[in-house]
Every structure is written in C-alpha cells, then in structure tokens.
C-alpha cells in the first residue's frame, strides 16, 4: 500500500547534529527530495540515500520532502524523515 501525505508534517530541530524534515503533499504521484546541509559537500550523497531509503521503506508517494540538515548522522536523518512522514499522513 502506498502512503500519501494529506497535510504538512514536520519533525526534528535545527540544532547541530540534528536536522529538520518537512513533508508536504503534492498533486501527483511524484516524490521530490530537497536537501540543504552544512556538510553537503562531504556527505550530500549519503544524506540523499538515507532520505530516499526511508521514503521507499515507508512507500511514500505524492510528497515533497525537504531536509534542512545541521550535521545529523544517518540514523538521525532516517528517524526524522520517518517521523515527519508519519505526521503528514
């Protein structure tokens, strides 16, 4: 079963070592991921992968996922994405 957001879901903080994730519904089936990060040059690919993996596991569609990262490790990113997605359903 696909999961489709019905409202905005936000999770996490902008403190260092954390990230804030915002999930918004879109009008189609697309999944758009946007990443801002203080360590984008070093870990941009890993962050994108962590976000993508989590969205896939949650079978998310019809969503924009925006991550504002302040140096969170992968497990924090995954937790914040999962929380924001669940809050948006």
């Amino acid at each position: 079963m696909m999961n489709r957001p019905t409202k905005t879901g936000i999770a996490g903080t902008l403190e260092s070592n954390d990230c804030q994730v915002t999930v918004e519904p879109t009008n189609d089936d697309s999944l758009v991921i946007q990443i801002e990060s203080v360590v984008k040059a070093r870990f941009g690919k890993q962050i994108e992968m962590a976000v993508m993996d989590t969205c896939k596991q949650l079978e998310l569609v019809g969503a924009t996922v925006f991550v504002d990262d302040k140096g969170a490790l992968d497990f924090t990113i995954k937790a914040r994405v999962e929380t924001a997605v669940k809050r948006s359903l």
Partner: protein, 499 residues
C-alpha cells in the same frame, strides 16, 4: 611591498639563538609629533602605493583603528598596499572592501576570520596572502624580511610625551605584545589613542613612536571577549578535559614547577578549570602560565598555583584587571613569546600546552587554519609555536561534531606539523604520537586511560559518519602557510564552494 617566503619547510629539532639589533630606543631627545586629524596624519606619513602597513589585534573584535585607517586609504585611492596585521577579525570589514577594490593586494596575518577570510578564500586578493604564526611574525619583522613602512598602533592610553600603555584608558586591553616588534622595527610608527593621561607604566616607549593622533574612540573593550573564550558545559567536553588531566598526571607533568599554556577554546578552558582543582587539592605549585591569558589562569595565579603569568595578549577583562595590579603578571612581546631564534622565548620553557584542532591526520599534522572546503576560518596564532616549544603538546577535541570528524586521512592544510604534537584526547580515546612507543606501553599497562591509535579513531569516525567525499579546491593559490621559522609548510588554494 610584497612579502614572499620561499624556503621549503623541513623539520628542525632546535633553533640556534640569534639576536637582532633595533636602534630606536637609543634615540636621544626624540620628540613625538602630534597631528590633529586624518588629513594632517596622511600629509605627514606620505603613504604611497605599494607600501606595507601594520596593525595589532589586542582589541580583537572590538578594534576600530584598522577600519578607520583602511577607510581613509580607500578614500585616498591608494593602490597595492600590503597589510601586515597580527590577526584579522570579523569587525574588519573595511579591509575586505579594500581587498575587493585592489587597494590592498596582500594580507600577512597569523589568524583571519570573517569577511577578510572570505574574500581571500574566494581568490579576490591579487597576491597570495601569508598566514604566519605569532612567533614567526615577530621573527619576520625583527629579521627585516617583513619590512613595515608604517605601523598603526591602537594605543589604549598615552601620556603627553607619546609613551604608550595598554593597561589604562577607555579601551584598556592589557599586554601589547603583538605590537612590540612593529613599534621597534617599522620605518614609521603612528600611535592612535582616545585617552591622553599620565601613565603608571609604559608598554611602548615614546622613542619608538613618530606620530600620535587623538581620536574619539579606538574601539570597544567588550569586543576583547569574542567568541571562543567560554568554558564548555557540554558533558562530553568536560569528560575530555578530565581525561586530559589524567593523561598529564600519568605522563608526570602534574608536579611542582609545572609550566602550562592553554588555548581559549571551550574544552581547553575546561582543562584549565580542572587543572585548577587538581593543583589546589594536591597543593602543587606551578612555575608559570603563558600565552593568551584568561580569567581562569588569573584565578589560579592569584591563588598561588602559578608563580608568574607571561602574557602576550589578554583574552578577557579579568586578565586586563590582573595585569594592571599584579607584579608577577608580566607583559611579553610576541618575540619573547614565540620567536624560535629568541634565546629566551617562553614557548621553549613550556611543559604542557593544550590546543584545539579543526583537523588532525594520521601523521598528527594539525589544521586550525581552514575548513575541509579550503575556506580560511582562523590560523595558527601561537598554535605552531607552542606545539614546537612545549615538552608535551596535547590536542583536545570531540571526535565528531555535526558529522565532521576531527581525525582525517590527511589534513586540508598543515598549520602545525605532526612532529611537534604529542597526543590527541577525544571522547573516543587518546592517541599518542607513535614516536612515544614506551609511553604508549606504560599508559596501557599502568592506567585505565583508553589509548588507541589514530587509525582506530579514524575508523570509528568513518563508522559513525560514513566516508566523506573529498572536496578539491581550485588551482589558484590564495595563501602561503608560513611556519614559525619562515619556511613554507603548505599552501591554501581557492575554495571551490560558493561562500
């Protein structure tokens, strides 16, 4: 005139003492000329295109003098000026403007942050800048390699005849250690003050001063305490500090006669606070503390835990208050502090120094000058000087903060060579330089300290953060890393990342 260090770096175990002659103090019947305003000042000093001017940074981020002078130089449309400042802070925005307009074409400094660091990192400065050490800067001036045409000295207080004191006045900053070489060796010395009153003591005698200018304000003393001079409250930082003290104890340095220096980072200050406890509990009396002096060191000194303070720079107002009243709190010059050829330099007499790092690599090389993106964020200051001089140089840092590991394969920029570093204390263990193989065995056998290799720390960091992508710079060299003996230890290239 462009300053171009050329000698390649090579590790040297000790430096033969040398002395350099200054001849200003023997001037007889010298009179300081007084000017009323900027026009008169610039008429008198005849500053020309291509000249080198200098500043000190004792007012840190509260300094008004450099901006005052740079604004005037921009207005007068001078070109190709070299600025030799002991350090550059975020407040120095006029210098950034001057670089962007080609008015200033080279900066020589021991530390830079803020707008100037950004324009230099972006490659906006015509010639490569030179990142010095505090001791190296003194050496470059005393040896005549860095020739200063005009030194502008922010002077917290002057008497009518032109003597200078850092200890009095509206913007009292204590020691004027970084300005001493400039005062003695510059072709022309301009003292700028906002306080003219009788002085209790001189930091720079009038014989060194050519011109004095009275202005409304030389700066805001609140800016002296800028950024880093606060103790950490983070339990992890405190735990690192505690292990550092245990390490110092295990290596045998916590005993009568200890000489000690610490940087002004949060964890370094926590080490000072915990050393305080340790010394007073065990009734141990150290000989001296040196460097940038903070209130923490003043407290220890006033309790008799150190006999003397050697102060090249006051980091906070408590240090300023102490130097005003305490006889054994000595102001020293940057040369007495860290010039490798100065026969009595203080750093060579240090037992232990506690320092920070933004990167440290498998060879123990340390970077405190740039970020991983090659962007300039600071500089040696006394880092390389004290690491060389001290018997035991300890780097303290969290292994990972905000996904960035302090331990790396290879530092982006070498500020301080690994041969001069002895230990790294992190929350994930302590790495000792492999040349101390006996000490490593002893610590493993007789203490509960977690001694690990640098490689193990790197592996742990990679396990936590993932493998970082490397960030390559552009071709253009924006700055040379000048070691304390004036050799070139590394270069900084233009940062690829938009700032």
């Amino acid at each position: 005139m462009r300053y171009e260090p050329k000698l390649p770096y090579q590790y040297i175990e000790s430096y033969e003492p040398r002395t350099y002659q200054e001849n200003k103090t023997s001037r007889v019947n010298h009179e300081v000329r007084k000017v009323e305003d900027m026009d008169q000042l610039f008429d008198m000093i005849q500053l020309k295109d291509g000249m080198t001017i200098s500043f000190h940074h004792h007012l840190r981020n509260g300094d008004a003098v450099m901006n005052l002078i740079m604004d005037e130089i921009i207005k007068r449309n001078l070109r190709d000026i070299t600025v030799a400042a002991s350090s550059v802070f975020p407040i120095h925005t006029s210098l950034a403007t001057a670089i962007e307009r080609g008015v200033v074409t080279q900066v020589v400094a021991a530390y830079m942050s803020g707008a100037v660091a950004d324009v230099v990192s972006k490659g906006k400065c015509l010639y490569p800048c030179v990142m010095q050490t505090h001791g190296g800067r003194a050496l470059s001036i005393e040896s005549g390699k860095l020739k200063i045409d005009v030194a502008f000295i922010a002077s917290p207080a002057m008497d009518k005849s032109g003597n200078i004191s850092g200890r009095q006045g509206k913007a009292a900053c204590g020691s004027l250690g970084y300005a001493i070489a400039d005062a003695h060796y510059a072709e022309m010395v301009v003292a700028i003050t906002d306080t003219i009153e009788p002085l209790n003591a001189f930091d720079i005698p009038k014989e060194c001063v050519d011109v004095m200018l009275h202005v409304d304000s030389i700066g805001d003393p609140k800016g002296i305490v800028s950024g880093t001079t606060r103790i950490t409250k983070d339990p992890v930082g405190l735990a690192i500090a505690k292990r550092t003290i245990e390490l110092m104890d295990a290596v045998g340095y916590i005993k009568d006669g200890l000489s000690f220096q610490t940087g002004a980072g949060g964890i370094s200050l926590a080490v000072a606070a915990q050393l305080h406890q340790k010394l007073s509990q065990n009734k141990i009396k150290g000989s001296f503390a040196s460097g940038g002096i903070t209130g923490y060191l003043v407290d220890m000194f006033e309790e008799g835990l150190f006999e003397k303070l050697y102060d090249v720079q006051c980091f906070d107002l408590a240090a300023v208050a102490s130097i005003q009243k305490n006889e054994n709190h000595f102001a020293i010059s940057a040369s007495q502090y860290g010039n490798p050829y100065n026969p009595k330099n203080i750093v060579d007499q240090l037992d232990v120094v506690i320092l920070g790092a933004s990167e440290i690599d498998l060879n123990f090389n340390v970077n405190v000058t740039t970020g991983f993106d090659h962007r300039i964020l600071g500089g040696s200051g006394g880092h390389a000087d004290t690491a060389f001089g001290s018997k035991f140089a300890i780097i303290v840092s969290k292994l990972v903060s905000s996904r960035i590991s302090v331990v790396v394969d290879q530092v982006t920029t070498i500020t301080t060579p690994g041969q001069t570093i002895d230990a790294l204390v992190t929350d994930y263990g302590i790495a000792i330089h492999p040349r101390h193989s006996e000490l490593i065995e002893q610590l493993k056998k007789t203490t509960r300290l977690s001694v690990v290799s640098m490689k193990e720390l790197l592996d742990t960091a990679n396990e936590l953060c993932g493998l970082p992508q490397s960030v390559l710079p552009q071709e253009k060299i924006v700055a040379l890393m000048e070691y304390r003996d004036l050799s070139v230890i590394d270069v900084i290239r233009q940062s690829e990342i938009p700032l």
